[in-house]
Symmetry: C4
Subunit: 195 residues, 4 copies
């Protein structure tokens, strides 16, 4: 499978989970010339090769028709920031939206087997943190927030906004995204008890 | 895609989300002679062109077999009230039913990125309100409630009943409906904490 | 569509909703000689004509291979009890299980538009009750509970067990079942606030 | 259907329920030479015969390409421990993760009709317990926990980790798994009330 096909499969999968409501979400994978990224406003449940743009690492479109979304610049900033990042998957989900509002300093996790799906973890018996950065409509400000928190090897939540999962490969990034959603669902359930 | 095909696709999508239980919901799009609307009591998961009626702006059937639902008159009232409305999508969902009962004066929103999917909003950093109107079995009374609250550019909730999303195009109306459902899901989660 | 095909479609639909876990649930429709009912222990997600038995109104099998479930006798009792019943759809759902345990004297409803999907109701502005009967492994005792509560024109919940929806036609019974599930989902949400 | 085909169908079904996030979960069935088990790290939503390994009862691979997951050793320990076990299905679900953390001594059940889907139960009117064992990254330690709690005829939960369902046949094991998930969903709903 080519990198483009693997990215399209990841987008279709995320859309099927209901994680891209109202044409939301942005998805990209590193390419030799920069990165492939979804064009703005496309319905992710019916994504096709023609919905992808090829951009250089400054976020300028090299190939493809359509406009990159404003958030494409944050993808570019991530690829410039960390050469090990091969993929960025950004979704809008209910759990990430509300938990990032409730826990603006990050979400602590301990004792979940699923922590092992996040790169660098080999046990449930440790405390780790899902980072949360403040939201901004100014992409350079948002990128500053991200740089300030780096390294964040699985990605981060943007408060009231969603998840940015990162990974060295598309497969690792999908695994991170799915594990983060699962862990957030657990935290959301437990938050109903813990008042 | 013709306007009729686009409306049928929107209905099938809403039905697949589970937003039209027990043959509930009504869906329409403006047409040169008035508007196209779903006939009463049809199963929205198997909607076809023959399930649509063409009505004039007074709600009289011009073409098609079947009875318009009582709520077709509210669709007609909306198209008469505001010439910019091109589509009305009405669903029955759990979140809209219970939150409109709990917050009969409207649902305030602040800090959600998803607010940007509602026409006229370009930031999360603002307070906006999803309007709620009282329910009534008398369509002219319900239309009076709506006129009293106008303008409501993304639509409104009817208390204990559901969502009426509006938009200038079918695509904009779908985006409004999906964004409203997402925002209500967030509010519902947060309502479990905030007692 | 024949009555048998319509019953099979109703079963497949209920199974797809996730309302028949662990081979649970029983489904029947009145026939000239008695009633058609699902054989015991069949996977409802893959139901076929060969999974149906024809029984007389005493619950004896007239045609078909397989054993009727113990609960087939309750279906028989319902068809004997009320000649207007044309269909009985019994599901196992989480909302009906837990709410029938919490409200063993019945579940009061007021102000829900969805009440209109239940036969005999033309407004949201009334108080109605979803009846709950105690559970029993003795079908004649369970039938006694049901007779004691009759008439229950949309069916009833069995405590800790599930929903028995009834209707004059298969279509009416499906509508009742779907409306009851929707209303229970609303009550379940509101129960999280009302402590 | 061969045992291998029946196992593959069970895995595809579990994956479709969303119970195998982030390539999680392990699934096996006893075979004449030992047991068939999923290879490590495969996407369970696209499982094929080539994703299964044949192991002996010590967990050594006899046939197939790929590595068994670490947890394959726990499957082996279960087949050695109890000759009546014909199938082991292990899933990662939100309800089992959070309830096993909240109730580390086991989850008591009483009054649920669904208890009858668990082997050896013929009534709702009894108190039974879903066992919970502590999690460990050391499979021999985890196996010790399991042996200490045996017999557990429907399986057990691992704290913060998931469900291990067992059964004499693949069909019985699927029924146990589905019934346990349903019962946990009920307990989770009721836990929101019972503070």
């Amino acid at each position: 499978m080519t990198s483009q096909d693997e990215l399209l499969a990841a987008i279709a999968w995320a859309a099927q989970q209901g994680w891209t409501p109202a044409t939301g979400g942005n998805f990209s994978a590193r390419a030799p010339q920069g990165y492939l990224v979804t064009a703005s406003g496309r319905d992710k449940t019916r994504i096709q090769a023609g919905d992808l743009l090829l951009c250089d690492l400054e976020g300028h479109v090299l190939e493809g028709s359509g406009k990159p979304s404003a958030e494409s610049d944050l993808h570019a900033a991530l690829y410039r920031l960390d050469p090990t990042i091969g993929c960025v998957l950004h979704t809008h989900t209910v759990a990430s939206t509300v938990l990032s509002r409730r826990f603006p300093d990050g979400i602590a996790l301990n004792g979940f087997e699923m922590q092992k799906a996040l790169q660098g973890n080999s046990t449930h018996d440790a405390t780790i943190c899902l980072p949360v950065v403040p939201n901004s409509q100014d992409m350079s400000e948002l990128a500053d927030h991200v740089r300030a928190g780096w390294p964040m090897p699985w990605g981060f939540l943007v408060a009231g906004h969603g998840i940015y999962a990162v990974g060295e490969t598309i497969a690792a990034c999908r695994r991170h995204l799915e594990a983060i959603e699962f862990l957030l669902a657990c935290v959301l359930e437990e938050s109903r008890w813990s008042k």
